[in-house]
């Protein structure tokens, strides 16, 4: 979030310094411990190069991305739909307990259960991602409705503003902001959920590669995969979440 006293250049400098500190700390740890425990940054990069050249990264990224995207899409659609309904008609708070349950139960339990229900592979991963993205979207959309100034609604009622206009001028701007906040949260969690689901119950995909690197004690590969994951999350943040947030600001109601 931007605020009036932030200085973009200084912010960037501090962020870069933060990255350097992480790398330095990592380097120091790797010098202290065996590489099977903490591989050095250089070893990790060379493992990453090897994985890139062999095509493993591209191949598994595609598999994981398909699962993540499908699950995300389903979860966002369902969560937004139920959120809209619940927002428009407060009686639909009846979804609330379900949503709270889903948010409270540790995600790994759903993974373990989904493996029993759907077996290993894509269906299971997509199910888990969709199931846990759904409450995020639901809650955010409902919150959006709650944040709408009740004066606007009262005014709309008094002047009998048609539903279409009410939707365009009051509901949409009110909800859009937290809807988009929900999306960015959902995107980030969907990546983590996909990896977790694959780690335990898939035969391919990034999560499974991480599991195999772990069981073969190839810690350098494991670190390389994690690095890839970090790059993806940052790239998504720059390419998708930030533009979406800028777009969201256009929906802000002028005070």
């Amino acid at each position: 979030m931007q605020n009036s006293i932030s200085n973009p250049k200084k912010d960037l400098a501090y962020k870069l310094l933060g990255v350097l500190l992480i790398i330095l700390f990592w380097q120091l740890l790797s010098m202290r411990y065996l590489s099977v425990l903490v591989p050095s940054p250089a070893e990790t990069l060379s493992a990453m190069k090897q994985l890139l050249l062999s095509g493993e990264i591209t191949r598994n990224l595609r598999v994981s991305f398909e699962r993540q995207f499908t699950g995300l899409l389903l979860g966002v659609m369902i969560g937004t739909a139920t959120g809209l309904l619940a927002g428009l008609k407060r009686s639909l708070e009846l979804m609330n307990p379900l949503v709270k349950c889903l948010m409270t139960i540790p995600a790994v339990i759903f993974v373990v259960m989904a493996m029993v229900w759907f077996g290993m592979g894509s269906v299971m991963a997509v199910f888990v991602v969709a199931l846990l993205v759904f409450p995020i979207m639901h809650i955010n959309v409902v919150e959006g409705f709650k944040s709408i100034d009740s004066n606007y609604l009262q005014m709309a009622r008094v002047y009998r503003v048609p539903l279409k206009i009410r939707f365009q001028k009051i509901y949409l701007p009110g909800v859009m902001h937290s809807f988009l906040a929900g999306i960015s949260l959902a995107v980030a969690s969907s990546i983590r959920l996909t990896i977790m689901a694959e780690l335990l119950g898939a035969r391919e995909g990034m999560g499974q590669k991480i599991a195999i690197s772990r069981s073969y004690l190839q810690t350098d590969h494991l670190f390389a995969w994690v690095l890839v994951l970090i790059f993806i999350v940052f790239a998504l943040d720059w390419l998708f979440i930030r533009p979406v947030n800028r777009l969201a600001n256009r929906w802000k109601v002028p005070d």
């Binding site: 065996l34 099977v36 029993v116 035969r203 195999i212 772990r214 069981s215 073969y216 004690l217 190839q218």
Partner: protein
Amino acid sequence: MAENPADDLTLEIKPWQKGDQLLAMITSNEVNMSATPITNAFMLYNKGIDIQLVNVAVWGMLYVLSPEDSVQSVADLKGKQVSVTGQGGIHDLVFRHLLIQNGVDPDKDLEIIYLDLPEASAKLATGELKYAVLNEPNSSMATLNARKGGVELKRVLDLQEEWQKVTGQEKARIPQAGFVVLNSEQLGKNAVAKFQERFSAAAEWVNNNPAEAGPIVEKHFEWMKAPAVEQSLQYARLNPEWAADCQEEIEAFFTELSKTAPPEALGGKLPDAEFYFQP
């Protein structure tokens, strides 16, 4: 299982379930010795950890279990669904090797699914799963579980016998698991020798008195039920031998296995002679 022989060889047993739990115990110096699959010992050694293989305790205790009689050879598994425990582990590597050497493509000609023991055992008992590769004592536990539901499981293939057929060596054995010692200099040769002596004697007693051994095992590891242990001992090939005495046999086995196994499953290469503890 991990053991901690102190002065007069009092042992403290610490169970581990997954490879990284064992790694954690080893790197934090929590244990002096540990039971482990041989492949795992290879990996740890090749990754620069100070361990040596003391003995091979069990040989070839892998079986294909099924309620049906139709499978009599590895090739008969074509078109079937078979569950295996632990992707990339020694069960998986041996089973895939045998399939390939019998002209069966493990990725195309049959369906391998990876299930852990409770799942495989439950699915065998309900008939949802017809074939599973299990080791001892898991195969015995599965057999007894299935019997409760009226399903009679049989060991239709003994993977060590299949290994002998494939290699043409009728005495070939699968060195499956054994004990490693960590930082052997610190523990000292005497303690290790004492351990091996006591362990061999115990193994002999257990092999001769399976009915008495069952309840003792169950007391320490409650998930291993006494009747399963008793049955298991007939099939476990518990026969501890000094690793240094069977270096050639171990190397021959893994050289054969690495024809099909990915090198990283063994930690990159076969370990050198230092790996074998010299009594």
